[in-house]
């Protein structure tokens, strides 16, 4: 008997906790409110199923508990009932999957006007590279990494000369402009994770991964590493500032290009000439 009451309390407590708890997603700062909506749909469907199953159990336990002289029914199976339950479950699953796959197709389709921004992770810091005036990132390779060339940019590639290098400092992004984050790691797995942007992706040495999003409000956001990368994992933090266009341009003016840093060329971030 106690168990029937406890099961009802588990359902009531879980629902109340969900409704009253102050713990929820951080306020969103990207276009991925679709993801939040899909999650809310999932909460509704799964919540209803959980409550229904557990309350039905509690009812059965109370109604069919052993009493002197009581006897169970003999009922091996019921093809009709099992068939119905299968169909209803399949519909419920499809109702979850359909919006999920629809939003995923948006998640993996990068818009053509997205600006590329490269994030380079290493134990245990974040660096960044912007494409510079030509709008193209130069090629890069782990073998080229040295103290003078910490991101391994190919010095032979003209497209790389005007790339803006931000070593172990904050990244700024202009608001309302879609960005494609190109993710590289030079040592182990990492994961570029800003909770407010919702999107995240592992960074894998030897390949370039990506995701895209559009920042929708200005502000300062914390970057965390979300893939275990050694003892400094929990302390691998960074900052992304989403700026208005003017603030962003002002910040960009102060950054240095690859050419400037490697001493091969003098030029400005916004208009460096090619070698």
């Amino acid at each position: 008997m106690a168990i029937a009451i406890v099961l009802v309390l588990v359902v009531a407590g879980s629902v109340l906790f969900h409704v009253l708890s102050p713990w929820w997603f951080t306020p969103i700062a990207s276009n991925w409110s679709y993801i939040d909506n899909t999650l809310v749909i999932t909460f509704w469907i799964t919540g209803i199923v959980f409550a229904a199953v557990v309350l039905f159990m509690a009812y059965c336990i109370w109604r069919f508990r052993h009493r002197e002289g009581s006897k169970a029914d003999y009922e091996p199976e019921s093809g009709r009932l099992e068939g119905w339950l299968t169909v209803v479950t399949a519909i419920g699953v499809a109702a979850l999957l359909a919006p999920g796959l629809y939003v995923w197709s948006q998640f993996v389709s990068v818009p053509d006007d997205a600006t590329e921004v490269e994030v380079v992770a290493q134990q245990w810091q974040w660096s960044y590279r912007l494409p510079g005036a030509d709008g193209k990132l130069g090629t890069s390779e782990a073998r080229l990494i040295s103290p003078e060339n910490p991101l391994g940019v190919n010095p032979e590639d003209p497209a790389g000369q005007d790339d803006v290098i931000i070593e172990a400092a904050d990244l700024h992004l202009p608001v309302d402009k879609p960005v494609k984050m190109l993710l590289r790691s030079i040592d182990v797995l990492h994961d570029f994770y800003v909770p407010e942007f919702r999107a995240k992706m592992d960074m894998v040495p030897g390949s370039v991964t990506y995701f895209w999003f559009t920042p929708i409000r200005t502000g300062t956001f914390e970057v965390l590493c979300a893939e275990l990368c050694g003892i400094g994992h929990g302390f691998m933090r960074g900052i992304v500032m989403v700026d208005t266009e003017e603030d962003y341009q002002a910040w960009l003016q102060e950054q240095s290009t690859f050419a400037q840093l490697s001493g091969t060329e003098v030029g400005m971030a916004d208009g460096g000439t090619k070698k």
Binding site: V6, T38, S105, V188, K200, P205, E222
Partner: protein
């Protein structure tokens, strides 16, 4: 009430193969230590698994203490924290759950439930245990190795697992872990072949596959899966050993560690993840399917009602087993694999929810119009359904690719998999121990301690893991020894963390009561008799309890019916044993 006519059998043909003589031990050593009796091996497997599980339990306390009170305990450095995380995970998943369900329950129950004298290959079975014990001892040795155990996380992802930035990466830790896993897989393969052959070849006369108890179906299917899945882990472990020791680059691309160019090049870290999860996802069901089977039998027995939809339950087990081999990359949605994989793996993952849901419905429908005895095994079975439904439903969040993106690598994942493959199967293990302890020892476990253990474990575990989902929802990443000053994490999350830790310590304490009960009841438990639960399956029909070596005395049992004839209309009592020929007495040709 349905119309019911009991089926009669006229004659049982003679056995196809003559009964075999077992190897009979001659000394104390070969009876109790180097025993070939599956029941003794089962107890050895279970005791070893619980002993090493106790280590993992203590590690979880240390982790929780660090998370709730960061900076308070000087000895829990980030290195130590990651070592605790890694060893806790690996021990619980492989060395406790897999070993206990297959090596423990598989060994004890398969021969008894199918009506065999022993496993098909008793010597191999003995060898299986001793290699498992060696694997455990090697694993424990890593605590004493220079640099300590590996801190790579139980997933052991390269490159970090074998590099210097990870505890044990450039020292002995990772080598010992890989070596221990290789031993475990060798030992398991010996046992696993035994379980499969015994189920297929060792069944008593009349025990058709579709008359087997679901416990046997669950363990059998899980074993077949394990035999197919563990080789992937085996090759991954061997390749990683080569990368670490011989300088090969299976998993290692060109990389720069701490400013130094390493000589690796051309390998793929994601290849390891595919191999790992090709093992790792079936592994979830390797633990879950025996639990599904056992809980079906507990519910049926203690509700005095046949399991509802037996045939559907068998096919659901088989379907889940098969499907679980094509869902592995749902652990890798944000791994950087080709994003189009997401469509495929999200679809297969959500499809697997259908047979799983059918199992839940049929458990609950078994309660409908039952005669529910709220014994301790039944309480654990009911608690299992609650936690399994909860954990299964949060799987629909993480399996549905785009919803996984914000939640992956957060505490939501930790909460989900602990609920579904930690708490839920462990509750079944407890229920099963309370259920079968009387057969193993001849005595009942103490009920007062049992009730205390049940209530604290069930409610406590729910209080640990239900709120933890919301910590993840806030965005708190997993595998962080401390959160530090993080703007988006409100102070209240720290308070919640303290609450979770206190609940974890209390639940941990209740397990000590359970262990004490296991020993206390050996001498002081109430005498159980041969069939205290009035159950139908064969293990309760042995001529003596505990069953002797060879199980059945002179004559092997003959099976006349399925395992679920409870409350049959017209029958003299509310259960009919599988070897009871009611309503007539057929001729049995010897």
């Amino acid at each position: 009430m349905v119309e019911f006519t009991p089926r009669t059998t006229d004659a049982i043909p003679p056995a196809e193969v003559p009964d075999v003589e077992l190897y009979h031990p001659h000394s104390w050593w070969t009876t109790y230590v180097f025993s070939q009796d599956a029941k003794v091996i089962a107890i050895q497997y279970s005791s070893t698994a619980m002993a090493i599980g106790l280590v993992a339990l203590v590690l979880s306390w240390l982790m929780r203490l660090q998370l709730a009170f960061p900076g308070t305990f000087d000895f829990i450095t980030p290195e130590a924290y990651y070592q605790f995380v890694t060893m806790h995970g690996m021990i619980m998943v492989v060395y406790l759950l897999t070993a206990l369900f297959l090596g423990g329950f598989g060994n004890y129950l398969i021969p008894l439930m199918v009506g065999a004298r022993d496993m098909a290959f008793p010597y191999l079975n003995m060898l299986s245990y001793w290699i498992y014990l060696a694997a455990v001892l090697v694993l424990v040795a890593s605590f004493f190795a220079p640099g300590g155990p590996t801190g790579a996380g139980w997933t052991l992802y390269p490159p970090q697992a074998i590099l210097g930035g990870t505890p044990g990466g450039q020292q002995a830790g990772i080598l010992i872990m890989l070596f221990s896993l290789i031993l475990f897989i060798i030992g398991f393969t010996m046992g696993g072949l035994n379980y499969v052959v015994t189920v297929l070849q060792g069944r008593a006369r009349g025990m058709t596959l579709m008359r087997m108890p679901l416990t046997v179906w669950g363990i059998f299917t899980a074993t077949v899966m394990a035999l197919l899945a563990f080789p992937a882990l085996f090759v991954a472990a061997v390749m990683m050993l080569f990368d670490r020791l011989l300088g090969t680059s299976f998993f290692m691309p060109a990389l720069v560690e701490m400013g130094e160019q390493l000589s690796y090049g051309g390998g793929s870290p994601i290849l390891f993840q595919h191999l790992f999860w090709f093992f790792g996802h079936p592994e979830v069901y390797i633990v879950a399917l025996p639990a599904f089977g056992i809980v079906s039998d507990l519910i049926s027995t203690h509700a005095r009602k046949n399991i509802f939809g037996y045939r559907m339950m068998v096919w659901a087990i088989v379907a889940i087993g098969a499907l679980s081999f094509i869902v592995w990359a749902h652990h890798m949605y944000v791994s950087g694999m080709h994003p189009y994989f997401g469509f495929f793996f999200a679809t297969t993952t959500l499809i697997i929810a259908v047979p799983t849901a059918i199992k839940v419905y049929n458990w609950v429908l078994t309660l409908w119009r039952g005669d529910i005895h709220l014994t301790i095994p039944m309480l654990f079975a009911l608690a299992f359904i609650v936690t399994f439904v909860n954990g299964g439903l949060t799987g629909l969040f993480l399996g549905n690719v785009v919803v996984d993106v914000p939640l992956s690598d957060t505490m939501f994942v930790v909460a989900h998999f602990h609920m579904v493959m930690g708490v839920a199967p462990i509750l079944v293990i407890f229920g099963a121990i309370y259920h079968w302890y009387p057969k193993i020892t001849g005595r009942m476990l103490n009920e007062v301690m049992g009730h205390f253990h049940f209530w604290v474990t069930f409610i406590g575990a729910y209080l640990i893991f239900f709120p933890m989902h919301y910590v993840g929802l806030v965005g708190v990443p997993r595998r962080y020894p401390e959160l530090g000053e993080t703007a988006f994490i409100p102070e209240s999350v720290h308070t919640l963390n303290e609450f979770i830790t206190i609940a974890a310590l209390v639940v941990g304490f209740a397990q000590l009561v359970f262990l004490f009960n296991l020993f206390w009841s050996l001498k002081n438990g109430r005498e159980a008799g041969g069939n205290p639960w009035r159950a139908t399956t064969l293990e309760w029909q042995t001529p003596t309890t505990p069953p002797p070596h060879g199980n059945w005395g002179d004559r092997l049992p003959v099976v006349y019916r399925w395992a679920y004839d409870y409350s049959v209309p017209g029958a003299p009592q509310d259960f009919i044993a599988q070897n009871d020929p009611w309503p007539n007495k057929p001729v049995v040709h010897r």
